[in-house]
């Protein structure tokens, strides 16, 4: 069975400092990994994904994530945080093998708070 863990309910960081939002996953086959961001009263917005290839994936708004197969992790990072990055971040995993009942599994989310 697939699962995703986001061990931190909240991450606090000062504006201009680097940020990391952690994610670990479990899947039987190879993983497809995604990061989404959710602003208040809005739907989820796609940030980036890992499918195959380079372990460092770059996405929207200066975010990047590093796929680490040995640690089954896909941490989200940004070199310099902005106050406007404050939002709820979701990691998600899907088994690359596909199938009718193969679905995207989301973590519980991490609230990122960037202080001015």
């Amino acid at each position: 069975a697939q699962s995703v863990a986001q061990p931190e309910d909240q991450v606090n960081v000062a504006e201009g400092n680097p940020l990391t939002v952690k994610c670990t996953y479990s899947v039987s086959g190879n993983p497809y990994l995604f990061w989404y961001v959710q602003y208040p009263n809005r739907g989820l917005q796609f940030l980036l994904k890992y499918i195959t290839g380079d372990n460092l994936v770059k996405g929207s708004y200066g975010f990047e994530a590093e796929f680490n197969k040995s640690q089954t992790s896909f941490h989200l990072k940004k070199p310099s945080a902005l106050v406007s990055d404050s939002a709820l971040y979701f990691c998600a995993v899907r088994d690359a093998r596909g199938g009718a009942t193969n679905k995207l599994i989301f973590g519980t989310g991490t609230l990122l708070a960037v202080q001015p």
Binding site: V4, Y32, F34, Y36, N41, R42, G43, L44, Q45, F46, K49, I51, F90, A92, R94, D95, A96, R97, G98, A100, T101, N102, K103, L104, F106, G107, T108, G109
Partner: protein, 115 residues
């Protein structure tokens, strides 16, 4: 390009009443998803459509929930009768193609409150 459209944005009903949510996916996206998001949780899939066919409805509580996607475009999710525990945000998403690697695009959601 217009995103995924959902209506209504908010709905407040009494328990045991019926309620329906509507979704219009991104043009050309043949895969449509309905998710349930409880407060403080990630979205959980209720049903997935490939065109007009429901290919995964294993998580849909079929005693009270139903969905349809006539003509393979717009979709409606219905609850009848609603219970207090159904209070949540109902998200619709769509994706291009049916591959597991395709990212999903989400609508703003419908926040349902059952009193």
């Amino acid at each position: 390009e217009a995103g995924v459209v959902q209506s209504p944005r908010y709905k407040i009903i009494e328990k045991k009443q019926p309620v329906a949510f509507w979704c219009n996916p991104i043009s050309g996206h043949n895969t449509l998803y309905w998710y349930l998001q409880n407060l403080g949780q990630g979205p959980e899939l209720l049903i997935r459509y490939e065109n007009e066919e429901a290919v995964d409805d294993s998580q849909l509580p079929k005693d009270r929930f139903s969905a349809e996607r006539l003509k393979g475009v717009d979709s409606t999710l219905k609850i009848q009768p609603a219970e207090l525990g159904d209070s949540a945000v109902y998200l619709c998403a769509s994706s291009l193609g049916q591959g597991a690697r395709n990212e999903q695009f989400f609508g703003p959601g419908t926040r349902l409150t059952v009193l």
